[in-house]
C-alpha cells in the first residue's frame, strides 16, 4: 500500500473500525502519516515528505548526552 505523503510502499493497516466494518485506518511506517479509508486525502505540496526531508528534520527536544 502506498503512502499519500511520502509515496513509499511501507503503509499498513493500523486498525479497523470497532463497530460495523465502517472503515480502516492506515499508517505509513516510513513517515508516520495516518489516514482513514473514508477520508478524501489531498496532501499539500508543502507537507509532502521524502527521504532527504526526513533525514534533515529537526528534533524536539534534543537528546541529552548520556551520563555515566
Amino acid at each position: 500500500m502506498k503512502c499519500p505523503r511520502c509515496d513509499s510502499d511501507k503503509a499498513r493497516i493500523m486498525t479497523k473500525s470497532p463497530v460495523g466494518g465502517a472503515w480502516e485506518v492506515y499508517v505509513c511506517n516510513h513517515c508516520c502519516y495516518s489516514w482513514r479509508s473514508t477520508e478524501n486525502i489531498q496532501i499539500s505540496e508543502i507537507f509532502k515528505l521524502n527521504d532527504e526531508k526526513i533525514a534533515n528534520m529537526g528534533m524536539l527536544p534534543p537528546i541529552p548526552p548520556l551520563k555515566k
Binding site: R5, M14, T15, S17, P18, V19, G20, A22, W23, V25, V27, C31, C32, Y33, S34, W35, R36, T38, E39, Q42, I43, S44, F47, L49, K53, I54, M57, G58, M59, L60, P61, P62, I63, P64, P65, L66, K67
Partner: protein, 486 residues
Amino acid sequence: MSKVYKDLREFLATLEEEGQLVRVKEEVMPEPDIGAAGRAAANLENSPAIFFEKVNGYKYSVVTNVHGSWYNHALMMGMPKQTPVKEQFFELNRRWDKFPVPPKILAREEALCKENVITENINLFDILPLYRINEQDGGFFLSKASVISGDPEFPEDLNKLNVGIYRMQVKDVDRLAIQPVPVHDIAIQLAKAEEKNEPLPVAIALGVSPLVTFMASAPVAYDQNEYEFVGALQDGVPCEIVKADTCDHLYVPAHAEVVIEGYIIPRQRFVEGPFGEFPGSYSGCCKQCEIQITRITHRTNPIFENLYIGMPWTETDYLVGLNTSIPLYKQIKATMPEVVAVNAMYTHGIGVIVSTKVRYGGYGKGVAFRLLSTPHGMPYSKIVIIVDEYVDPFNLEQVMWALTTRVKPGKDVVIIPNCPGMVLDPSSNPAGMHDKLIIDATTPVAPEPNPRSCEMLVPSPATPKWEEILRQLQSAAQKKQEGNRL
C-alpha cells in the same frame, strides 16, 4: 460557596441546564464533521459545548468546545454565565491566593476512572472516537489531554509532579507521540530520564473536571503542584486524585473518563506533525518522542473530550486566556504593587496588555521589563502594551484610545532585537527567537517632562442615574416590541 464539579459529567450537566451544551443525535462522520463543528462553534458568540452522541464506526461519544466561550468559562468557576471577563479575572485572582489546597487521595475502589481495565490487545480506537482535527494534520490528535509525569530525581516529591497539556499524535493503536517543548516542565523531567537512558513513566487523563484542564494548561512554577491549584480555584474544595496503577508516584484525577498509562521511550525520536496550532497556522513536521501505552483504565461509556484549535479565537484561546494572565499578574505584582491587571489573552500571551499606575517617570517600561523576565513572558510575549491604571486592559476600545492619545512613537515605542521567542510563533526567526516590541501608552510622570497638559473630561455626577433610567426605558421598549411581534 460556588458550584464545584467532581468530574466532566457534572460540568456537562450544568452546561446543558444553562443552554450551553447542544447534542448532535444523528450519526456524524469522524472527518470532516467533528473538526468542522469545532471550527463552526468558534465562529459563533457565546458558543455551547457540542456533544456528538454517535460517531460512525465507533462505540462511544465525543464532546468538544467545553471551554469554548466566556459563558462556559464563567460556569466552570461556578459564576453566572454573563459574568464579564474582568470580573472573572479578579475572582480567579482571589481564589489563586488559596494555593496550596492539598488534593484528596482516594482509594482505588472509590475512583470512577478505574471501573474498567485494559491490559491486553490495547487499542485506543476501541475507547476513543479518534478523528482528524484539521485537514493537513499528520494524523489523529489528542488536543486536550492532561499528561502527568514525575521528576526521576525526586519521584516522591509531589510538588514536582507535573500536570500539563501537550499535543499528542496517535501513532499506532498503543502508541502516542508527545511534544515536550524545551520551555515546558516535562522536558526537564525527560532530560533527567534520557541522560540515564531510562523510560519516563507518564499517565494521560482525558475527560476531567474543567478546572483540572484549566490548571494543566496554566504556566505555573516547576515546583508547584497543579492539583493544589485546582483545590484553590475550587475555593478550597480539594481535587480528588488516585494513584496510577503502573507507577507509584503518579496520581491522576480520580473520576477521569479515560486514563492511559505508559512511558516515554528514551533517546528515540520519530516523525510527528504537521498540526494546526493556536497561531492559526500549521506547525511543520519534526522528530519527537513517543509513548508506549501499557494500560488503559476508563469509566463505563467513556466520553472523549477533545478541542478544536486553529485560527484564533478557538476553544484553546478561551482555555488559556485567563490562566496565562493570572500567573503573569501575580509574578509582576509581587515586586510591582502598582500593577492593576494583566491581559495576556492574545495568542497565548504573545501579545500582552498591562495596566499600571506609574510610580515615577519611565515606570511603564520597567513593568514591561519585568513581564519579559517571567517564566512565560520571556519566551512567549513579543508585543507588550502598557496602559494607565484607569484603562481596562480587557477592553480593546479603551486600549486603542490609550495607543492613539498617549503614545509618542519616538520615545514610547522600543524594539529589542534577538530575544527569546516561541517556536510556534510563525514570525520567530530562527524559530524560537524574536524581537520584543514595547509600547508605553501611559501618561508621562515626573521626571519625564509632559510639555502639553491635557485636561481629562469628567462625567457629570448625574450620569449613573441616567444610565439606570435609560436601561429601564430600553428594557420597556424591547418588551413592547416583543409584544407586538406576538
